[in-house]
């Protein structure tokens, strides 16, 4: 247990100390408060949090909640298993194109397409992962980067799926539980994605506490030792890759159904890097840190719109400074202690 000292700037530990002594009622209240706050965000019209120039509601959907969903997916790959993936946008693109093509060429609606979008993204994960995951570290990073770019350039060069112009007039989701999804109002999409995000977080946390989570942790800490200890590393790395890919595909299909037209230029390397930055910036391996990172990195550039073109310059600088001050992210995961406590 880390001590609570005045010099400690580690928010994760301070909060962790409070969390350890909190009663179940306090914990439940805290959870409900945070989740409630997120659901209420589109209803708050406060000039302090409002974004200049872009509508706050659309910022909430993209980038804020979309980044969070993708960052949670990528966190399974990068944060939990230590596989550096620089081509995550490929899964997002596959999901988006699956929805775009299937909703136009078949009679299926978004809810029926989502399993296909996730399935195709998972399939891509297997196709890339089976050969690539035998490599490690920087090599794997570059292969995934190459994969992300190949998917984008193939989309540009294939006229059958719209080429560089992309696909327009994509149908939106049909109404569900009486909620209508319209082009003008991004809020239902925000609430939909938030709900799915909570489901994904729940699933990932369940997995993390079970055998796959322990295997991922072992692989991240030392792959050779994990293999000696009998962890079938390729299998679990592949599963991490596939699960991450499925979340990316899910995000892509919802994204395509909201913006109604997609072009290959939406799926550049910069987006992969951005999502990776959310994961690392927030704190690799810690799902709450990752979401904090995604919320901040999605929100800050929009808030900085008054800096107009200078905002990315400022943002790049911020990344360098942040990494130098807190190389493990804002809310780094607690190492080991966390698991020791659980196993008591």
């Amino acid at each position: 247990m880390s001590k609570l000292t005045a010099s400690s700037f580690n928010l994760r530990d301070r909060f962790g100390d409070w969390w350890d002594v909190a009663t179940p009622v306090q914990k439940g209240a805290f959870r409900v408060a945070i989740i409630g706050l997120f659901y209420a965000l589109p209803l708050i019209n406060n000039p302090i949090i409002d974004t200049p120039e872009t509508s706050f509601d659309s910022v909430l959907f993209y980038p804020l909640i979309m980044f969070s969903l993708m960052a949670v997916g990528l966190n399974v790959v990068v944060g939990k298993s230590g596989i550096l993936d620089l081509g995550y946008v490929a899964f997002f693109a596959i999901g988006a194109y699956t929805h775009a093509l299937m909703s136009i060429h078949t009679a299926l609606n978004l809810w029926e397409i989502i399993p296909f979008a996730m399935g195709f993204a998972m399939l891509a994960g297997v196709i890339l992962g089976l050969p690539a995951l035998r490599l490690r570290g920087d090599y794997l990073a570059i292969i995934t980067l190459g994969f992300g770019e190949i998917v984008r350039i193939i989309a540009i060069n294939t006229d059958a799926i719209g080429g560089a112009m992309g696909i327009t007039d994509i149908p939106g989701p049909t109404s569900i539980f009486g909620i209508e999804f319209t082009v003008m109002d991004p809020r239902p999409f925000y609430w939909l994605t938030l709900t799915l995000l909570l489901l994904v977080i729940w699933g990932v946390i369940r997995l993390s506490h079970r055998k796959p989570g322990r295997a991922w942790e072992a692989i991240r800490e030392d792959e050779d030792v994990a293999e000696f200890m009998g962890v079938s590393t390729l299998k679990y790395k592949l599963w991490a890759f596939i699960i991450g890919g499925a979340v990316g595909g899910l995000a892509g299909s919802i994204y395509a159904s909201q913006i109604r037209s997609i072009q290959p230029e939406l799926f550049t390397l910069n987006l992969s890097i951005m999502i990776l930055a959310c994961v690392v910036f927030g704190g690799m391996g810690n799902i709450w840190g990752v979401i904090l990172g995604a919320v901040l990195l999605g929100y800050i550039p929009e808030k900085l719109r008054f800096l107009s073109d200078y905002r990315i310059i400022f943002f790049g600088l911020l990344m360098v400074v942040m990494m130098n001050i807190r190389p493990n992210g804002l809310l780094p995961r607690k190492k080991r202690e966390h698991f020791q406590e659980k196993s008591k």
Binding site: L84, Y139, I154, I156, F281, Y310, N328
Partner: protein, 316 residues
């Protein structure tokens, strides 16, 4: 697909491949040298190259060329070229040193994870691209034609022009100098020692931080010279010019075996030739897919590259 183009243009494609390969080589040496000493992919190296092209554009702009003048006579052109190549080399070299201090040094001394260094480098790369996008107003900056590019020698479909000769001869001279630096100077000895075993080099009294700074300087200078050749050959630049050149150069370094200086040279020429031939057959659009496909295949089949060193040890 048209394979006959391969036969009819075989030699001219080969020449272009060598020219492009020489430019890639100058950039990929920066990746490979830094990887050698730090076991780290310098993600922002492509931006060092981009800074070089911007310096070349700026220096030539100082002389008031509009692009409509008659080409310069050869001796004037060579003087001009030396001027902007040296300017680009100096600025790129210094930029690389500053980059190392700002983005890498503190993290390295803290013993932070490689991912943190990568993110820091990515931030630096974003920063540099956006600064120059702002300066250049997101435009393509066109470089005036300073040299007569009409072929002075024709043999079949092989057209030899002054700019291509300049790149090949100039790059060869640089490679000879680099070889001398690495094999016959104290700095070269230091770089080789740190590449082989950092801890032992510290014990032997090598100032590792200084060697790393010099390695970045060397990589930056090479990229700066490469950018001067690039500008003479392609005559255009923009803020994100670094990305595709960088990825090709990196592929070349991996192809030859990253960390291996000779490998980077051979890999660059092999990739340059391969890109020219495949884009002649498949179309220019597919060039980058080909580059990535080569990268992926090399890494899958022979991750140590064609002339690889024992890099598996460093792959942890």
């Amino acid at each position: 697909m048209d394979f006959s183009i391969l036969i009819t243009n075989f030699w001219s494609l080969a020449l272009d491949g060598i020219v492009v390969g020489a430019i890639y080589a100058l950039v990929s040496l920066g990746y490979t040298l830094v990887y050698g000493v730090l076991r780290l992919i310098n993600f922002a190296h492509s931006e060092i190259f981009m800074i070089g092209t911007m310096v070349v554009y700026f220096v030539v702009g100082l002389f008031g060329f509009t692009g409509y003048e008659d080409p310069l006579p050869l001796y004037k052109f060579i003087g001009m070229f030396l001027l902007f190549a040296v300017a680009a080399a100096v600025v790129s070299g210094l930029a690389a040193v500053v980059l190392e201090i700002v983005a890498y040094r503190r993290l390295r001394n803290m013993g932070a994870s490689r991912l943190s260094s990568l993110i820091s480098a990515i931030g630096a790369s974003f920063f540099l691209v956006e600064v120059f996008r702002k300066i250049s107003d997101s435009k393509n900056l066109d470089f005036p034609r300073l040299i007569n590019k009409d072929p002075f020698f024709t043999w079949g479909t092989l057209y030899l022009s002054a700019d291509k000769v300049l790149v090949i001869v100039g790059a060869t001279i640089i490679f000879i100098i680099l070889n001398a630096i690495i094999h016959h100077t104290k700095l070269g000895l230091g770089i080789r020692a740190v590449s082989q075993d950092e801890r032992t080099s510290i014990l032997m009294g090598v100032n590792v931080n200084r060697i790393i700074s010099y390695t970045f300087l060397l990589g930056g200078v090479l990229a700066g010279v490469g950018s001067a050749f690039y500008m003479v050959f392609y005559e255009t630049t923009k803020a994100n010019v670094g990305f595709l050149v960088g990825i090709s150069a990196f592929t070349a370094a991996v192809l030859g075996g990253i960390g291996n200086v000779k490998g980077a040279l051979y890999g660059s020429f092999a990739l340059g030739l391969f890109q020219q031939y495949t884009s002649a057959v498949l179309g220019y659009n597919w060039r980058d897919v080909v580059t990535f496909a080569v990268l992926v295949l090399v890494l899958l089949i022979k991750p140590t590259g064609l002339f690889g060193e024992a890099l598996q040890k460093a792959r942890v």
